[in-house]
């Protein structure tokens, strides 16, 4: 297998060849491991710069792809931690100071300066690779860890609403279905219609499933006990950015006071906030074939939807549930505050 390169990875992202966020995360981690293992660097700072270049390139070309950027951020944090523990006691100094209670800010006063890890340590490479391998193991287990929480969240005779395809939610519900008996309603999720795929998978596992149209989400919400969805990105303010239709779903859930759970592994927690970037898809996706429309009509379809944090009840992650208002603290555990490149 050819060694992973940045360019290949970015092309693959651009052409949307990844099946899911999980595979993006795994491949980006592979790329980073490759860089750590094989690229020529001496000091920690050089390594940090190399890794951050990946982040810069991806954000320049595909700003909405947050998963690879999150992986880079995580790797940066790992390197800094390993460096500091290698040096022993003396923490890696950066110009803005290393706080015990780091603040996550959009525009760190330190600007784009990375923590200075100037000492050349021979075993840094190995230690970083080890830590990355641990992280990889954690990544692969995240599905399982989230699915296990299904039993405690769902009880018998519930009606659960979900929408669009999400492998995590599927695993979550499948696991719960082994012990509980409940009914799932799936919204089809135009224009991608991945909900059809979800409904088929759920019914194959033996769960009683009903597929409804997106416009029927509000009518059915009055009978729903819980809403469980996946997401593409978790924003730093606790909101989520995900496929079209989630905002309507979340508003309806709020109206009927139905709890909304988001199943997400930690690599989706991102440091961007708000819906700055919204990618537009092709308008022809929503016009049926052979329907002539006058050219004066403006047809477009967005790719993402933003759900504000007040509509989300909690995030179900690898180890525990997180409230939207607590996401900022979780971010500071995951990522190094000074290493963020806006």
């Amino acid at each position: 297998m050819a060694p992973p390169t940045k360019q290949d990875f970015i092309n693959k992202l651009r052409l949307e060849k990844f099946e899911s966020e999980q595979s993006k995360a795994e491949e980006s981690l592979a790329l980073l491991e490759h860089i750590v293992a094989n690229a020529s660097w001496q000091t920690g700072s050089e390594l940090l710069t190399l890794l951050r270049n990946v982040d810069i390139e991806v954000s320049a070309k595909l700003p909405w792809e947050t998963t690879p950027r999150n992986m880079v951020q995580r790797a940066l944090k790992i390197v800094v931690d390993e460096y500091s523990s290698c040096v022993g006691g003396v923490s890696a100094m950066n110009t803005s100071g290393h706080h015990t209670f780091p603040q996550v800010t959009m525009d760190p006063t330190g600007g784009v300066e990375l923590p200075k890890c100037d000492q050349a340590l021979p075993d840094l490479r190995d230690r970083v690779l080890e830590a990355l391998a641990e992280y990889r193991a954690e990544l692969e287990q995240s599905d399982e860890l989230i699915a296990v929480q299904g039993e405690s969240k769902i009880h018998n005779d519930e009606v659960i609403l979900t929408f669009d395809w999400c492998g995590l939610v599927l695993a979550f519900l499948t696991r719960a279905a082994k012990k509980r008996h409940f009914h799932v309603i799936v919204a089809e999720g135009a224009p991608t219609y991945q909900g059809h795929r979800m409904a088929e998978s759920l019914s194959r596992v033996g769960i009683q499933t009903t597929l409804i149209q997106d416009c029927a989400v509000f009518p059915m919400m009055s009978r729903v006990n819980k809403v469980i969805i996946g997401t593409r990105t978790v924003l730093s303010n606790g909101g989520i950015k995900t496929d079209l239709g989630a905002a309507a779903l979340a508003s309806a859930a709020k109206f009927y006071c139905v709890p909304l759970y988001v199943c997400t592994p930690t690599y989706k927690f991102s440091r961007i906030s708000g819906e700055e970037v919204n990618h537009c898809g092709s308008g022809s996706a929503i016009i049926p074939i052979n329907t002539p429309l006058p050219s004066s009509v403006n047809v477009a379809v967005s790719k993402f939807d933003y759900v504000p944090p007040e509509n989300v009840t909690s995030f179900i992650t690898n180890n525990r549930g997180i409230a939207p208002s607590y996401v900022y603290r979780h971010l500071s555990e995951l990522y190094d505050p000074a290493a963020y490149h806006v």
Binding site: A199, I286, L293, Y306
Partner: protein, 549 residues
């Protein structure tokens, strides 16, 4: 003898409970003397002493007047074992008085004891009589029970025959309830593999769409051909939208009235009403009636009923025809333009209006607004199945109005630029809830979230007396296959086998109900109203029509 005693005892009771004991005593005494012809008892002191007992005995056991003889026999009489063959009324009378009687028996036991020997011979015959009576009563009671059980059995097989499918589903229900089904399982009926009528969970009370029109021969005398063609068109959704359906229904019924001839010796109003009923049922079977259609047909029925019996046929038919034409003209055509002008008055230049699907009223409003000089931009949100918004967009483009076409899931991304949300209603409920095509509630919710006014346009003839709080209780199921085959690309037809799959259901709802709290204002031909004015309008204009059932 016995009957007289009973009657007298009853009279004694009626006259006054425990009031006039003397009169009672005399009466009972008389009754006893009459009864005791063949008996040797005549000791007055004993009678008087025992009168109380006997009174009570008489009251309790109207069948047994001759109980004064022996205390022994009196005693067992009120006990439950012997009272079983008696009527239930006696039991009830006995039980509260038993302790009192027992006391009296105890006090008078010694005196009575002497009577035993005397009454022995008479007692036997009495005992025999008693036994016979008891047997008769038993026989009668058993006969009654048998008759009852027969009647119940007869009813049960009928019920079974009529509703086998329901029973199957209900037994499946019970099984599922036993296995712990949804807490809201009152409505949940699972699809049984054997039953052809598959019911969807939570929506089991809604009938699936008709695949074929109900059977009716072409030259049927009952179903008029115009109604028949209309039914098929409605079933195939060629004619869609409440206004179009109402107009076409009334036109078809007008043809029916034209071709109608009163048979001799029949009242036109009654006969025509009878002739209309199967036609309306046929339309209902092709596709469940919209609320607006229901109101229009009620109006027609009301009109038919109010035709005087001595009116000549030609004149009656003329009257009905003009009534229908006037109804359409007033309530639909003129009302539409009034609504459009009222709503256009609410528009301001460069307003961005969000609307849903195809709506004739909204198009007219935009046209009127353009004539007034307010150019509005219109964003049409559309659900993928059925894509009625495309026709809307084409019509709007012909008005030279900047038009945008978006998916219903996409509206949150445009809401910050939208200034007003305008929608047409299929019906308005008495509590102010708006029934519209499935998807209008998403717009209402988005309007509420982003603090934009949600304006509903509706003709007043679509107001109805129901009160709906959610969209599931009263709804219509659309064609699920359109949902399955809707997507383009790899997801099309993925669920094509859903009807065979036990765990899978595909649902397409036609209507949804927006709660009144989300509606800012209602625009009708009368004026611009709040939703609380709906029952007022119904009472003022449509009470005679909608009040009838």
């Amino acid at each position: 003898m016995e009957r007289k005693a009973r009657k007298q005892a009853k009279k004694a009771k009626k006259k006054g409970g425990d009031g006039n004991e003397e009169s009672k005593q005399q009466q009972t005494g008389k009754g006893k003397t009459e009864d005791k012809e063949g008996q040797e008892e005549s000791s007055k002191p004993k009678k008087t002493v025992k009168v109380d007992k006997t009174e009570k005995d008489m009251k309790k056991e109207t069948n047994k007047p001759n109980k004064t003889v022996k205390v022994d026999k009196v005693k067992p009489a009120p006990t439950p074992s012997t009272s079983v063959p008696n009527k239930k009324e006696e039991k009830k009378k006995k039980t509260p008085k038993e302790p009192v009687q027992e006391k009296q028996q105890q006090t008078q036991g010694s005196e009575v004891g002497g009577d035993e020997a005397d009454g022995a011979t008479g007692g036997k015959s009495k005992a025999e009589l008693k036994r016979e009576r008891r047997e008769k009563q038993e026989a009668q009671r058993l006969a009654k029970m048998a008759a009852k059980t027969k009647a119940v059995e007869e009813k049960q097989p009928k019920k079974k025959v009529e509703s086998q499918a329901d029973k199957k589903s209900s037994t499946v229900d019970k099984k599922k309830k036993g296995s712990g089904d949804a807490g809201k399982s009152g409505k949940e009926k699972s699809g049984d593999k054997k039953s052809t009528k598959r019911r969807i969970p939570l929506l089991g009370h809604l009938t699936p769409p008709a695949l074929q029109a109900p059977h009716a021969p072409v030259n049927s005398e009952i179903i008029h051909p115009a109604v028949r063609t209309l039914g098929i068109k409605m079933k195939d959704r060629v004619i869609d939208g409440s206004t179009a359906r109402v107009i076409s229904t009334l036109v078809a019924l007008k043809k029916l009235i034209n071709d109608y001839q009163t048979p001799e010796s029949c009242d036109l109003s009654r006969d025509l009403a009878e002739k209309l009923a199967p036609n309306v049922e046929y339309l209902n079977a092709c596709r469940p009636q919209a609320v607006a259609m229901d109101n229009a047909i009620r109006f027609l029925k009301h009109k038919v009923n109010s035709i005087a019996p001595n009116m000549p046929e030609g004149q009656a038919k003329d009257e009905l025809r003009t009534a229908i034409e006037d109804y359409i003209k007033e309530n639909i055509t003129l009302a539409s333009s009034a609504i459009a002008s009222h709503a256009a008055y609410l528009m301001q230049p460069n307003d961005v209006i969000l609307t849903f699907g195809y709506s004739g009223l909204v198009c007219e409003m935009v046209e009127a607004a353009c004539k007034n000089g307010n150019i509005v931009n219109v964003v049409v949100a559309d659900s993928p199945q059925p894509p009625s918004g495309l026709a809307m967009v084409q019509r709007l483009a012909s008005f030279q109005v900047p038009t945008y076409y978006r998916l219903i899931t996409d509206i949150t991304n445009v809401m910050d630029k939208v200034t007003k949300v305008v929608v047409e209603a299929e019906a308005v409920m008495m509590n102010g809830a708006i029934q519209g095509l499935c998807g209008t509630t998403s717009l209402a919710l988005a309007a509420a979230t982003y603090h934009k006014p949600f304006i509903v346009l509706c003709h007043t003839y679509k107001f109805c007396n129901n009160d709906l709080t959610d969209s599931i209780v009263v709804n219509e199921l659309g064609d699920a296959d359109k949902v399955v085959w809707g997507p383009k690309g790899s997801n099309a037809g993925l669920l094509a086998g859903w009807q065979e799959t036990r765990n899978l259901n595909v649902v397409s709802l036609v209507y949804d109900v927006t709660p009144a709290s989300l509606v800012t204002v209602l625009v009708t031909e009368q004026s611009v109203l709040p939703t609380s004015a709906v029952p007022v309008i119904i009472r003022r204009n449509y009470a005679d029509v909608l009040g009838q059932d």
